[in-house]
């Protein structure tokens, strides 16, 4: 595979991002390494080709946001909003991720080896997120579709006002949000979990060690008994 290196200590980020927005035919199949990210914001955002990107160090806010097709690896940690609004592709953070990881993501796979901060997968719209550590409070708030797999614990108000996303948690859940409840793990959900564990390097973890949470669907429609609350 053709490999190419940028050093953010020497090259402006805009130049690197502009290169990563070259026509897909020029980028497909290439491997781009970005050294010295040093917490810069917006690294490798809006990619639209089948390119591999390695951000070698700690990334700042919105790394790999709006990703399509590309495969982006962050070897350190990622700041707020990593892979936010991802459409497809894979984003893999080897360290921890800050708040709102994978927010509103519509497709693709976000893998976080460490912990994720608060509001992980907020308003998730169809992507898959696998967190090797724990997630903070308000994760999967109003998540509409997709899957969140947490190998560690979940903070407060998990899945508050949840729509149809599936939340798999292996550790403790501090509290469930409004309208989020534990569900029986059916065959379909179990197979999704098995596949995601395999794809994210956790094939050794038994799917039986997870609980599944989903929407109780009591907030879907207006209920006249709640009229007084408005």
């Amino acid at each position: 595979m053709e490999s190419l290196k940028f050093d953010l200590a020497a090259t402006p980020l805009r130049e690197v991002n502009q290169y990563l927005h070259s026509p897909a035919a020029e980028l497909n199949g290439k491997h781009v390494v970005i050294d010295n990210p040093n917490g810069a914001h917006n690294i490798a955002v809006g990619l639209k080709s089948d390119v591999q990107v390695t951000i070698d160090g700690h990334a700042g806010y919105y790394a790999a946001g709006m990703n399509q097709l590309a495969s982006v690896v962050v070897t350190g940690s990622a700041g707020t909003g990593v892979a936010e609004n991802m459409m497809s592709g894979v984003v893999h953070v080897k360290g921890f991720a800050s708040n709102a990881a994978g927010a509103t993501a519509q497709g693709g796979l976000l893998i976080i080896d460490g912990d994720a901060g608060l509001r992980c997968g907020i308003s998730l719209k169809g992507a898959d997120i696998v967190v090797g550590g724990s997630v903070g409070s308000f994760s999967a708030f109003m998540a509409q579709a997709g899957n969140l797999v947490v190998l560690g614990d979940a903070g407060e108000a998990l899945g508050d006002s949840l729509y149809e996303a599936r939340l798999f948690v292996r550790g403790e859940v501090k509290s469930l949000g409004a309208d989020c409840e534990e569900k029986p793990m059916d065959d379909e959900a179990r197979q999704i979990l098995v596949d995601l564990l395999a794809k994210s390097g956790h094939a050794d973890i038994s799917p039986d060690s997870f609980k599944l949470f989903g929407s109780a669907r009591t907030l879907y429609n207006f209920h006249v008994d709640n009229a007084g609350a408005y």
Partner: protein
């Protein structure tokens, strides 16, 4: 938005260079806070019977020697004065109220930024790089420091509204966020006889915590009271003569990253400000949890 930075140097041989180590940290937070900047440095303490006072004059050409001369003449006591433009550090063994009253009467234009045995405070409006150059911050030395870059959202841009805020002795606080109950907190503290210098929300938090500690709380108990009383968004970084302390609000609305290394502990709003620290690749980098207390001792 604002930027906070903090550095506590564990390796004694690096303490002479703490200002130099801090510079990329402070400058790195310029985008988060371009309108004002400030820093509190904790140095070796002055002699047991003395205190030092960081003073701010509104003009760069202020006649500090004239002030020192008048001080000697009026109060019959020689002061030690080291100056950097419109900033001076005054050392005296006289009682703090005596000095405060004298300055208020004879030099009302002078603003007292801090009081203590170890703390020096520098703060002003302007870009962080300009403020740092104005006060020669790359050449300060000490054990630990707390810095701030401000993007004002709730009160005016003036030197007095810049952070760090101080209260009592050897105590300072910087804040990223905004408090929604600062006015009621201020009224409550004013009722306790505590004077305020600005209408800034951070000053209310600073004076509240110092008041709790004067009432007998240790730092951790004061911070627990802080979680109960402070309503709003905050990451707070605080300095005492031998500690740095960090808390984030329960919703973690405002960021913070910590790098713990054998030689130092560094705190910043974002990793950008930690990236240039020596050997940071081998530091333990983590994001502090909401509603947790983190305290590091010199």
């Amino acid at each position: 938005m604002c930027g906070i930075v903090g550095l506590l140097v564990k390796n004694p041989s690096m303490r002479a260079n703490i200002g130099e180590l801090m510079m990329p940290m402070l400058i790195g937070m310029t985008e988060r806070g371009p309108d004002s900047a400030g820093m509190a440095v904790f140095t070796a303490p002055v002699a047991g019977n003395e205190l030092k006072y960081s003073l701010y004059a509104p003009t760069m050409d202020f006649n500090w020697q004239g002030l020192a001369h008048d001080f000697d003449a009026h109060l019959g006591s020689k002061v030690s004065l080291s100056t950097k433009g419109n900033h001076a550090i005054l050392i005296s063994h006289l009682e703090t109220p005596t000095i405060k009253t004298w300055i208020k009467e004879h030099y009302p234009q002078i603003h007292m930024l801090s009081v203590g045995q170890s703390i020096d405070v520098y703060k002003d409006t302007g870009l962080p790089a300009d403020v740092a150059a104005r006060y020669d911050l790359p050449h300060v030395s000490g054990t630990h420091l707390v810095g701030h870059t401000r993007m004002a959202t709730e009160s005016a841009i003036t030197p007095a509204h810049a952070h760090p805020f101080t209260a009592g002795r050897d105590w300072c606080l910087v804040h990223n966020g905004s408090l929604s109950n600062a006015n009621s907190l201020r009224r409550k503290l004013q009722h306790e006889g505590i004077d305020f210098e600005t209408d800034n929300d951070t000053e209310a938090a600073c004076r509240f915590l110092e008041w709790r500690m004067r009432e007998g709380d240790d730092l951790k108990t004061a911070l627990e009271h802080g979680f109960d009383e402070l309503d709003g968004f905050y990451t707070l970084l605080m300095g005492t003569k031998d500690q740095l302390a960090l808390i984030r609000d329960p919703f973690a609305c405002k960021p913070a990253v910590v790098a713990e290394h054998d030689d130092y502990v560094a705190i910043a709003s974002e990793f950008r400000s930690l990236a240039h620290l020596p050997d940071v690749k081998n530091a333990h980098v983590f994001e502090p949890s909401p509603k947790e207390m983190y305290v590091w001792k010199v």
